[in-house]
């Protein structure tokens, strides 16, 4: 058989895709609570995701993301939509799901133009207007990262915990179980895999916004899979192996928008009608009257869909709930939820976050967790800081390092340590020192910015906590550690727009003169 170069590629590509998928899974599913060393590794993977990189570049103006997006665009224009078959973890997972049903006859998936455009406009339009919910459901990295880590990832951790309890020297993982959040988080991932079992890679050619961009670039690509109608006999062998159903054997037509360059068709074609290469001069093309008519109809349907979607998105601007975007609290005390340093403001953060949950996994103390609809129905599953479980570590910038979309920007450590994401409130009456008349000081013990300190007060026998609110950065350490029951004496509320706090103020403690000699 000819095309040994392609054959070689065809053997190597799935292997590389599998290795890449494995590395990806490890990078995004390992909790940083036990493996904080994985964070730079995770950041590497998140930085090369097309749609988030574009979002980061366009909406947040981050140059490095722009360079990566342009590089991916250039590579696709040169070598075709190989990203989808080689680097996309969701794509490789779908191939795995489809392989389970190998006996199913695959066929050409028709009439997808309008749906493609509709999904794309809704997704992009939503992002532009601060309503990321469509991207939360359809952006491939987001869906994979969140879905995989909360399904197979969590199951692996549960298994690990079980083995550890039986005596094996394994780490212990703390897991967060909230049924409604879990279902919402995992549903798109499972649905897409399931769809692939019925129609191979249905998502890739129909709903994937990154796929739509890459597909459009693929049409213009220099080197890509091409079908030579002259050599084609419509035997249909290629159509049956095509992973995205983009080959119509009867019409001798390969839809470049849907092709993911997996090269499976090239290898099986008995007539050598398919190749991975550049445009050949004089190659026969099918151009019948009927196909022109179909083409025109598709174009009209697609345009109508695009217009409808654009109109729909634009009208959403006027939804009443967009006014006053204060996220509702999850707790009974109705406090505002805090969002990570680097978010800049709650509104900016919620408008960009597609809830890929990478930050949740990369958070070493495990203070970040997914919400459900507290940030609004157009901003589902957005992560927040739950100070009931843990507090934001003073020296840590992991979330900003891994965020692919720029919802959490990476702050330099000295800036991060002065970024106030919330402010504490003290209710002295609930404090242990006041209630039980025994010493405490847990809050002051943990405060990294000296915002709460213990002072002597004439009204009390023991030192009581006092707030210097200007230096408070809202990290939540005081709230997490306060031992008062049933309600904490000190709690932290998120602030809508993050601000720069004052540097820690000197303490009023009386410091005795220390001798240079032995004092005993």
């Amino acid at each position: 058989m000819k095309f040994t170069g392609t054959r070689a590629l065809r053997l190597v590509l799935p292997l590389m895709a599998a290795i890449f998928l494995f590395a990806f899974c490890v990078a995004i599913a390992l909790p940083a609570a036990v493996f904080p060393e994985a964070v730079p590794f995770t950041a590497l993977f998140t930085s090369i995701q097309l749609f988030p990189a574009m979002e980061k570049a366009v909406l947040s103006g981050i140059l490095s993301a722009g360079i990566i997006a342009l590089a991916l665009t250039a590579l696709t224009l040169a070598f075709g939509r190989f990203y989808c078959s080689l680097l996309c973890p969701l794509g490789t997972c779908q191939d795995g799901a489809a392989a389970l049903f190998k006996h199913r006859r695959r066929r050409f998936q028709a009439g997808r133009g309008p749906v493609r455009v509709l999904a794309f406009v809704l997704c992009v339009g939503g992002m532009v207007f601060g309503m990321p919910m469509v991207a939360t459901l359809l952006e491939p990295y987001t869906v994979f990262a969140r879905g995989f880590s909360r399904s197979f990832g969590d199951l692996a951790l549960v298994a690990c915990n079980a083995l550890e309890s039986l005596g094996l020297p394994l780490p212990v993982f703390s897991l967060d179980f909230d049924a409604s959040v879990l279902i919402a988080a995992v549903f798109p991932f499972i649905a897409i895999l399931f769809a692939s079992m019925l129609r191979s890679r249905f998502f890739c050619g129909t709903l994937c916004p990154a796929g739509t961009i890459l597909g459009a670039l693929n049409v213009l690509a220099l080197v890509r899979v091409r079908l030579d109608a002259g050599a084609c006999t419509s035997c249909g062998v290629c159509e049956r192996v095509c992973r995205t159903g983009c080959i119509d054997a009867k019409k001798k037509h390969l839809d470049p928008w849907g092709c993911v360059q997996c090269l499976d068709c090239i290898v099986v074609c008995p007539h050598g009608a398919l190749r991975y290469g550049t445009v050949r001069r004089g190659a026969a093309r099918v151009c019948s009257r009927s196909s022109l008519k179909t083409g025109r109809l598709e174009f009209l349907k697609t345009s109508a869909a695009a217009l409808a979607a654009a109109a729909g998105v634009a009208s959403l601007r006027f939804l009443p709930e967009r006014a006053g975007m204060e996220p509702r609290s999850r707790s009974a005390s109705a406090r505002a939820m805090a969002v990570p340093p680097g978010a800049m403001s709650v509104e900016r953060y919620a408008a960009r976050c597609t809830a890929c949950a990478t930050c949740v996994r990369a958070c070493p103390p495990g203070v970040l967790r997914l919400s459900l609809l507290e940030f609004g129905i157009t901003r589902p599953l957005v992560p927040w800081l739950d100070y009931g479980r843990a507090f934001c570590q003073y020296e840590c910038t992991a979330c900003g390092e891994v965020c692919p979309s720029g919802a959490i920007l990476k702050l330099e450590k000295p800036v991060k340590k002065l970024t106030a994401i919330g402010k504490s409130e003290l209710v002295l009456a609930k404090c242990i020192v006041v209630e039980k008349k025994t010493a405490c000081g847990a809050c002051a013990e943990h405060c990294p910015s000296g915002a709460v300190r213990m002072v002597r007060d004439s009204g009390y026998d023991l030192p009581i906590p006092k707030l210097v609110i200007s230096t408070c950065i809202g990290c939540g350490a005081c709230e997490t550690i306060c031992p008062s029951k049933p309600e904490k004496a000190i709690v932290v509320s998120g602030i809508s727009v993050h601000e720069i706090a004052d540097k820690p103020a000197t303490y009023d403690d009386e410091i005795p003169e220390l001798s240079d000699e032995f004092p005993f």
């Binding site: 036990v34 013990e445 820690p504």
Partner: protein
Amino acid sequence: MDRSDYLKSIVGLGAAAAFMLGSPRFIAAQGSSGPAGTAYPDLVAVKNGKQEAMFDLAIAAAGGMARFVKKGSVVVVKPNIGWDVKPELAATTNPALVKRIVEHCFQAGAKKVYVFDNSCDAWKASYKNSQIEAFAREAGAEMAPAYAQSYYQKVTVPRATVLTAMSVHELILKADVFINVPVLKNHGGAGMTCALKNLMGIVWDRGFWHGNGLDRCIAEGALFRKPDLNIVDADRVMLSGGPRGSSASRYGEQKMLLLSADIVAIDSACAKVMGKEPSAFKYIEMASDAKLGIQNLESLNVKRITL
């Protein structure tokens, strides 16, 4: 009974006595401090040197590590690894000191040395950035995890009045020798954090101590198992903003190291290092009342070494 039975019972009693006297746990539990007037001092204090050098002198003056660590024992070293901070902030124990202590343990014939703390900050970052992990590993110690409840076991503390039950780290139950290595700092709630307070890091539920009478719990923390040896890092002493400290904290460069098997005596001495009287700290009085050690330094054999 006849002569052979008599001889057998003498030998048996002798063997039992030798075993008990030889067993490290028994030696450690034998009274709160060595009786005054013995060859070894009850408290050693060294000044003006590097931590490792001061420790070498202190342990030699106290009779050598072999007095505390027998051949083949399993040792657990509990420094302060509470915070994700650099060693210069002196909120955690000097890593070089921890390394030196581990080295001495192995020289004395220890089979295995563990180092751990139930950190307040995220544990991996605390172990790493305090550099205690790197230094301890260089000396051959194993850094033990303490970040999950499964590493702790519930025990009862018969002599306690408040801290009657504790979830204590499995190493405290398992190890033959328990070495306590705090760093001396001020503490917003308790006033001072030293040897007695450092034991908070061996339990899972630290919040219980804060919520049920901090002073009483600190005092009773040593009732379950008293450390066999206490070594206090009083080189750079945090004087305000402790125990975590912030960039506004002030320090006293005391350049001291203290060593004692008496946990109350060493805290009394450190109270004075901070310029206060031991009576200013309720938990020292309470611990003394609970017969955990001797508060009055006048009655003890104290060795002072100035470099």
